[in-house]
Amino acid sequence: MTTQYLTWLLAIPALSALVVLLLPRSWETATKRFAIGAMLVEFIVSTRLILADYSEAGYRFVEHVTWVESFGISYKVGVDGISLWLVILTTLLSPIALYASWGSIKTRIKEYAFSFLLLELGMLGAFVALDLFLFYVFWELMLVPMYLIIGVWGGKDRVYAAVKFFLYTMVGSLLMLVAILYVVASYEKLAGHYTFDLQELSTLFLPAVPQYLLFSAFALAFAIKVPMFPFHTWLPDAHVQAPTGGSVILAAVLLKLGIYGFIRFAMPLFPVASQTLGPVLAGLGVVGIIYGAYAAWVQRDLKKLVAYSSVSHMGFILLGLFAMNRHGVSGAILQMINHGISTGALFLLVGVIYDRRHSRMLDDFGGLAKVMPWYTLFFLIITLSSIGLPGTNGFVGEFMILAGSFFSRTSIGFGSSWFVMTLLATTGVIFAAVYMLHAVLRIFWGKVVHPENESLPDLNRREVVSLLPLIVLVFWIGLYPKFFLDKMNPAVDSFISDFTIRYYEGRRTVEPHLTDLDELKLRLKGVRSLAMTESTGEDVQR
């Protein structure tokens, strides 16, 4: 078992899902306890991943087993400093979301637990897969349980939302599948054998035009998932209709897969295209920041407000990612975790009042601070985290992203378009305060105007237990982010340097060819030492 943690990590939810299927329908409590228990065991197993040494870049816990030899498909998994935290985020939030769900989910307990376990399997698999085929399988696997969760346990228009979610995501991922096949076929032409292995495929250099097309296909799939403006319209519908647990997972983990896809697949495989189109995507991110904030401000449904705030937050992450420097990318990854925590918690909190009042309309509340003081405190803390108050997790991420964007591509930090983008993105900080405090004002302050709100019970034990870990993380990341950053920085550094090397090689590519990264590094070293001797020679001449 020493090296097979990741297989165990995938096996636990898979086997538990099977067991849940076999349990009799009437054993509701047992099913609930079993599913939560399995997810907690999963979380404990996953914490073992943190203990590994991440001071050097590269994958840990790698397992490589050939699956379909003739097509070069293999079961290859591993984690590095980037996927590590996303895995932990998934294993942490899955039990929390499931546990919180028991407040509202009263029917088809068995199927719900099964869907959740399957969903966890899909998400974890997508985060640890290092084989494109495997990744695609997990990527699509996630869709089904989420579709069911929205479509079966959702709100009034659940079927519309579920179908929209499914089709939207499907359109993107089909194009991505085509692109994957093209890449594999091009590789086969040069190397003589098929492979879906990410590391082997990233030795392939394609000319500009196919790169742009392929990157666009990947980017579409990921941008829809993120969701990036203007591909975000499925998100408010899905969130509003999904049950609390579904919303939590959707916001906290599923959206992250879009960004993760960019980092792990789209950018390394197509460096030239992502370098050129990166600023465009970052620009759309900035549009998303402002547009999402504006749209959030005028929502009257609290859940919709939070959904649009996600669009805004994910815009920040896109901006940081395509800034392509260490704090930008690290900040983006950290902000993924932060967004998972704060938005996940916000959806949990929305669920709390929805369970009590069966309404999420801001107009139906007011003055709750008097009735539910603990709930108010929790909501305020998460609000502050969401608007990035220093001391909470949101600040560190946003700060690094904005600094990353500010210093992007230039030595002093004033690349004109990036400077403008930074200015615009920073106004997002203002608008975040506007829409979140607007919601707080409408829900908590003022007098209790609706008599049915006068005797709402404060948070119960289940709700406190599910929120408390997130509150702890808000301050942990806010005050000591080094614990997280130290593990991700080496991976990010090598991601950026590899990307840069590939970009320069890719720029000179006219015909497809295969070149190993190590060879490129050697070549680059030669150039660098040449440059050094040239400069010293100049000095001597003077």
């Binding site: 929209k164 089709l167 939207y168 500009a208 035009v209 203007p230 319209t233 499925w234 408010p236 547009y291 504006y294 749209a295 401000w297 005028v298 929502q299 649009y308 420097n325 260490r326 704090h327 007011g366 003055g367 601070a369 008097k370 405190l377 502050l384 108050l389 220093p390 001391g391 600040f395 560190v396 700060f399 904005l402 600094a403 210093f407 230039t410 002093i412 930090g413 004033f414 004109s416 930074t422 200015l423 920073t426 900080v429 203002i430 506007v434 405090l437 607007h438 004002l441 908590f444 302050w445 003022g446 007098k447 005050l479 000591y480 982010p481 080094k482 950053l485 000179r508 590519t509 006219v510």
Partner: protein
Amino acid sequence: MHLEAPQQILLLLIILFPLGGAIINGLLGRYMAKGLVTLVGVGSVAVSFALAVASFVELYGLHHGVEEAALAYHFYEWFSLKLPGGTVVPVNVQFVMDSLSGVMTLVVTGVGGLIHLYSIGYMGEDEGYPRFMSFLNLFMASMLILVLGSSVPVMFVGWEGVGLCSYLLIGFWYENRDYAGAGRKAFVVNRIGDFGVLIGMFILVGVAGSFEFADINSAAVSGQFRPDFPLWIFGVAPSLATVACVFLFLGCTGKSAQIPLFVWLPDAMAGPTPVSALIHAATMVTAGVYLCCRLSPLFITSDVAMSIIAVTGTLTALLAASIAVVQREMKKILAYSTVSQLGFMFAAVGVGFFAAGFFHVFTHAFFKACLFLGAGSVMHAVHAHGDADIFKLGGLKKQLPITRWTFLASCLAIAGFPLTSGFFSKDEILLGAAAQIYRRDDLLMNSVGWFTLIGLTLAAVMTAFYMFRLYFLTFTGEYRSADQSGDHPYDAHPHESPPSMTIPLVVLGIGALGVGFLGLPHVVPVIGTHLSDYSWWGNWMEGSVAGHAVPEEMHIVNLASGLALAAMAIGISAAWVLYRNKSTDALTDRMPARLYQLAFDKWRVDELYAATIVNPIKKVATVAGRADMTFVDALMTKWPSFKVRETGRILARMQNGVVQMYGAVMVVGVVAVLAWFWTPHSHIEVGFEGTKVELTTPQGLGYEYRWDANSDGEFETQWAETPTTTFEYAQDDIRGVAVFISHVRSGVERRIQVTEEWTPVPIESVAPIATLAATERGFEVRIDGQDFVFRRPDPPTLLAGKEELRLPMSKGGRLGPARVFARPLVEATVEVRNTFGNTRRTTKEIVLPFPIAEAPSHASLMPPTREVVR
């Protein structure tokens, strides 16, 4: 120089005590006895004050031995940035107490402690008392982080932290939604300022390569901020320092309530009075001035930024004072007075008298806190909630003697009565403005000096006037609520407040009178001290704050003091005449009604912002919110799905069950299939193997093929069923030349076929710097205006290799260097015959990736070597 060892853990404890108090009272206060809440809330601040004094004493001891003495405590590394070029810039959680932050720490913990004490009496009966204490403690912790933080981000933690506490405390009585709304307004307006701080911070770290104040200041001193900002703004290039300072100052206008962001502070009076005294008068709102002083070596390098600050400060001082003159409520008058006094401080900063500006922060903390607490004491006495209308008060000197005397002392101080604290500090600010007039004779700085001097003098007149208007109407004459007539009269029998409230009043009142002597020597020339000597204050601040030297010329000093005294005298005597023992508003009754209304409505700045900024944004947001579910969703989801459905419907229409229709479709289908099979179809695919070319055409049922690989009209192969042939081209087979222009930047190849005619290819705004000679490279090329022109030599001369030519482009060119090279062009033809005997000929042009070799050594596929064309 920072004293690193031993680690001054006291600095950390100064912050941790109030923070701990906030956490304990916040989480458990509800379940604790009131006495315990008081003990935790007030005790933690008292301990913090004691620790601050201890640290300050240690610092004071060092100060005489070491230049720029400071105590430091490095807690841990928060996170780090990696700048371009690989420098890793850590953000350290580190606290430093130097002469500037030392004084500020004493003020915050000292005045803060007194206000905590006052709150026991003032807020003790409120059901939210534990919450209040918790927020107040949290504010203390944040403010101390702001003051003691050694780097910009750590300061920013406090900066936003105090903003949060301000939000929570303004909206403390949250059941009143207007109050909560005022809190939100404060937070959002402050966030606009924080936007400026963030951007300013990035510029600072980009230039100085460090977040530490000390490093930024030394970078400023060494001139690193002098270069132009790389982006032009409106055709002029300001210096880096100017841009950084303007962004930072935007933050200061938010936190310290200056034009254009001052609108939140008057509304902030919705909070309980101790909050107004502590946060919105004595400490938090002066954070902007503190930041400017902290970075004074940077600010002083930019004349433009300094002028902006001086003018903004002066304008704010005037605007706020003009509003305060006509207001009717105690706290509102004091609020505008605070805005106005903050304007004085910024004006001082803007003319380069940072120490003077900060001295005013110091003295203002005493008298303004005392005034607010005095107002609170009055409101407590008459049971006024929220605010007190001075026209319903009057004659309170009898019932509230302690409050009255301390209030009077503070009024004298703020008006600048000789030898009170405000006299010294205000005098020095005017001196700074006057000094600038004499020091600088360039148009900008000189006129800014005049503007500041005159504007501040006017503001000082108004200050003295409105403060004594407030004093006389409140404390002299008859108590106007005694007979319980009029709208909502106050309690008929006011009483003096309990000792927990009067003790802070007395301490602060004594401070308001006395602390000015710290700045004594050079502002009172009559005593005869040598003018070039700094005062105690000047000496103390010299180590950590930059600034212009105090002028030695007596006439400047006399001018400034003369103006200050005259302003004070005019203001007080006007108020004496108009309001002493009076009960009517003698001044405003005589003002034109419209002017009065406008001033009373605060010049309608809020309405202006609402009309020009807030509402348009709100409208845009509403449109965005609506359009998202209609327009964007329609475009991205509904329209595509509609199209798909439409297509589906057309297809479904065909499945209508009418057999004739099916028959017709079938006939059409069969005919189409037959037609397709009637003639053969082919296209040619090319593969390369060494110098051989493999030609393939897709196989069809019953097809036969014959090849004319070089399209010379003679078929090389006979009819055969294999669809493939291999051929090796020779010189004679060449049909033409394909020229590739490859822009290295864009990596896009452009292929043209070169004939015997000159063929132009536009260069797209790129001008080569070298003239190109016709070469024997399979083509001739020259430059004709904006075009390359190519020609194939006639007869084709040489095609012996993949030749390449580098065209160095001009530096300003958009495309950079380009490569031009030629490759041989041949044609292959295949004829296909099917079972019906029909034939079809397909010809394909092939660009050979390799040369037709007589000398195969040229055929290397290695990347091309560099070739410089001069």
